[in-house]
């Protein structure tokens, strides 16, 4: 009996061991299968991403060991996240299975394990349609399929996603972007200031790659795309140049300590802070400028010859407006792209689109000072990624200006100059001399062409002047009078000067072109402007701007409207950034009904305030005179 029991126990134990072993094997096998699948997925993805360009480049990983602080500040920057591999972590959009309305048919997003997939028209078909220009009769004819998003662009304001197309490593944009401020998907076209164009296709290799990766070699040919990059995103070697020689030479500790003790910069790497003249600004200008390559065929092959520290114009043509400079090749450029200037510059040659700050800066009087460059106000290795401003430009009043213009550092002289209280936004140098006249990323951005306000810039070129960009309820005539009275700046042209003259910013929002409307709509949400002008009259104007033909204008107007009391809870769908989302007249009327009409307020035609509230009839009349010419800003 005992022996039988022992035998049973042994049998049970053996079975238990075998079961545990089988379980362990199954677990190992499953794990191995999963690892193999992930490896295969990664390999397939890498075969479609831009491949690594070796040559003289080493990548940021090699820089980290010796420059941990600089690496950390770069790693926290938006430069780094400009281009990333689409994987958990870098991907910030919600791939939660939602469906997105589009003229080509419903799109969708979903996550499968560590992969991100999008339902969209076949990327090759999209390219063919863009090339042939053929119209698609109905959404049913569009070849929709699931494609893997393998790369991302951006992470600060929005994130785009790229899928692969043939031949080789060609990348095509998913037609929707994830917008950070709204935490929602928006059609790519709605994030740009351009007329609705449903069939636009964005290619990474020939357009975005130039500035969104290090040392790109597009390697584009009719038969094959084999794009190479030193590194995705804007990394160390974009500004410091190729690092291989530096890494090899500085491996010797004696050489390193000699350089440390003698405070010598290493000769094999570019230190922008040690460059003479304007070379350091040109490093930023390689990307932050409207520029073209002299030999575009060469660019499409091995990319730009420019390397940090070199003379930019040896390889790159920074486009200046013909009113500002004679450039023999400008006619060829305009023959090729007649809208090049209008899509980027105001009529007087001032740059009007974001990401082109170098164009503004080189036209500024300050640029004549040999000490002045981008680093006068910005730093790349500071403690915050937001605008990468030096502390003196963030916390210290006007120090970014008074570090050179010392006479304005005293309150007494400042007040005498600005005619505003010393602590008011009207006394901040940048608000008058770097107003928000640049458009990009669905917002207004400060001009980097340091200038003085005038009514002529508004009358002649439609650009908001600094005074009316803050005093939103004031007319151009008022501005002309103030500029003459306070600063002795007389203008022969004073607008109408009539009692019914509209406020300049209001007029831009109602009758201006799309570019002017976008900047005006943004100014309505700018806190200093609201403080200077009051905001209790703005809602009817912004509600009406939600019916604008341009999605970007609607988006900006909605953002400004949300800044007003009673509108903070508005859903972002009111901007109508997805097909079929645009609010109807009843919805807009409901929004306007939220506006608390102040019956006691006196009428003011400048802001459409009548005796019974908003003067809708006058608005209708003026809106009928709106400048409806197509605006397509190339940010």
């Amino acid at each position: 009996m005992v022996a039988v029991t022992s035998g049973r126990s042994r049998g049970f134990l053996a079975a238990l061991c075998l079961a545990a072993l089988a379980l362990a094997w199954a677990g190992t096998w499953t794990r191995a299968q999963r690892v193999a699948l992930v490896r295969a997925s990664t390999q397939a993805r890498d075969a479609e991403l831009p491949k690594r360009r070796g040559e003289d480049f080493v990548g940021s990983g090699r820089c980290q060991a010796c420059h941990p602080q600089a690496y950390a500040s770069w790693h926290a920057s938006w430069h780094r996240t400009m281009t990333q591999v689409a994987e958990p972590g870098p991907v910030i959009g919600r791939f939660d299975g939602r469906r997105l309305a589009h003229a080509d048919g419903e799109h969708a997003v979903e996550q499968r394990g560590e992969e991100f997939w999008v339902w969209m028209p076949d990327a090759n078909w999209l390219l063919a349609r863009a090339e042939l220009g053929s119209d698609v009769a109905s959404p049913g004819e569009v070849p929709m399929r699931w494609q893997q998003a393998i790369m991302t662009t951006g992470a600060h304001t929005m994130q785009m996603y790229w899928v692969s197309a043939d031949p080789g490593r060609r990348l095509v944009a998913f037609p929707f972007s994830w917008v950070v401020e709204a935490q929602t998907w928006v059609a790519n076209e709605a994030t740009l200031l351009r007329p609705d164009q449903a069939d636009v296709v964005y290619g990474w290799n020939e357009v975005c790659s130039k500035c969104h990766a290090v040392a790109v070699a597009p390697e584009l040919s009719a038969t094959r795309v084999e794009t190479e990059v030193a590194e995705l995103g804007i990394a160390c070697e974009a500004c410091h140049g190729p690092g291989l020689a530096h890494v090899e030479r500085q491996a010797n500790p004696l050489r390193r300590y000699r350089a440390h003790l003698l405070d010598q910069g290493a000769a094999e790497i570019v230190h922008p802070g040690r460059l003479a003249g304007k070379r350091s600004a040109e490093i930023c200008g390689q990307c932050h400028s409207a520029s073209v390559f002299a030999d575009s065929a060469a660019w499409l092959g091995r990319g730009s010859d420019y390397r940090s520290g070199a003379v930019l114009q040896d390889s790159t043509r920074v486009v200046r407006h013909p009113l500002r400079a004679d450039q023999a090749w400008i006619d060829d450029l305009l023959d090729e792209d007649p809208d090049y200037l209008s899509g980027r510059f105001w009529g007087d040659g001032m740059i009007r689109v974001s990401g082109r700050e170098y164009n503004g800066m080189i036209e500024a009087p300050c640029f004549a000072d040999p000490k002045f460059d981008c680093t006068s106000c910005h730093e790349m290795h500071g403690d915050t990624p937001e605008d990468q401003l030096r502390p003196l430009a963030r916390f210290d009043g006007d120090r970014q200006c008074t570090q050179c213009h010392e006479s304005w550092a005293e309150d007494s002289t400042l007040i005498e100059h600005t005619r505003h209280p010393a602590d008011s936004s009207g006394s901040r140098c940048v608000n008058c001399h770097m107003p928000h006249t640049v458009y990009g990323l669905t917002k207004a951005i400060r001009s980097h062409q340091i200038s003085s306000p005038s009514v002529d810039e508004t009358l002649d070129h439609g650009r908001p002047n600094a005074c009316n960009a803050c005093h939103l309820d004031r007319s151009l005539s008022w501005t002309a009078s103030e500029l003459e009275r306070g600063w002795g700046l007389s203008s022969e042209r004073r607008s109408t000067g009539s009692a019914t003259e509209r406020a300049a910013a209001v007029d831009a929002l109602v009758r201006g072109d799309a570019g002017q409307r976008a900047l005006a709509a943004w100014a309505f949400g700018w806190a200093p402007a609201q403080a200077a002008s009051g905001s209790d009259w703005m809602a009817p104007l912004l509600v009406r701007a939600l019916a604008d033909d341009y999605a970007a204008v609607r988006w900006i107007a909605l953002r400004s409207l949300r800044s007003l009391p009673g509108y903070a809870d508005l859903d972002w769908s009111y901007a109508g950034a997805l097909a079929g989302e645009r609010p109807n007249a009843a919805a807009l009327a409901e929004l306007e009904a939220r506006w608390p009409v102040d019956r006691a307020a006196s009428s003011n035609p400048a802001i459409y305030r009548g005796t019974e509230g908003f003067d809708a009839a006058a608005w209708e009349r003026d809106a009928g005179q709106r400048d409806v010419r197509a605006v397509d800003l190339q940010e």
């Binding site: 010796c66 941990p68 602080q69 500790p253 440390h260």
Partner: protein
Amino acid sequence: MSDANRPGLELVDRHRRWGWACLGLFALAGLLLETAHGFKLAALVDHETRRTMWRLAHAHGALLGLIHLAVASQLASSADPGVGVSRALRLATLCLPGGFVLGGAWFYAGDPGVGIALVPIGAVALIYACLRLAWPSGPAS
């Protein structure tokens, strides 16, 4: 072992004092490092090079304290390895953690400060002392 070859009690006491002093000092250093980590003091946590150097100083100092105690114990019952060994060990005790401390106090990005030059001197002295303790009369013995 003849009495002539027995090290003096003074030498044994010296290593015992150095050992306990080192252990106490670098235990205190460890406490300070932990405190700095706990309060996330920027002067420490923001600088990888400094963190590494001072962590190494703490570890080497404490370890050298133990070595001194071990040497004191060995000297109490074995032949005198020679006056040079004691000097080398004390030199190592000053140079190894001292070099790391100085290397972390002033540094150049990823490179420690020039004080780090003391470390190889201390390392050579420590290796010499270890070999002499292992083979008091040379490897042939």
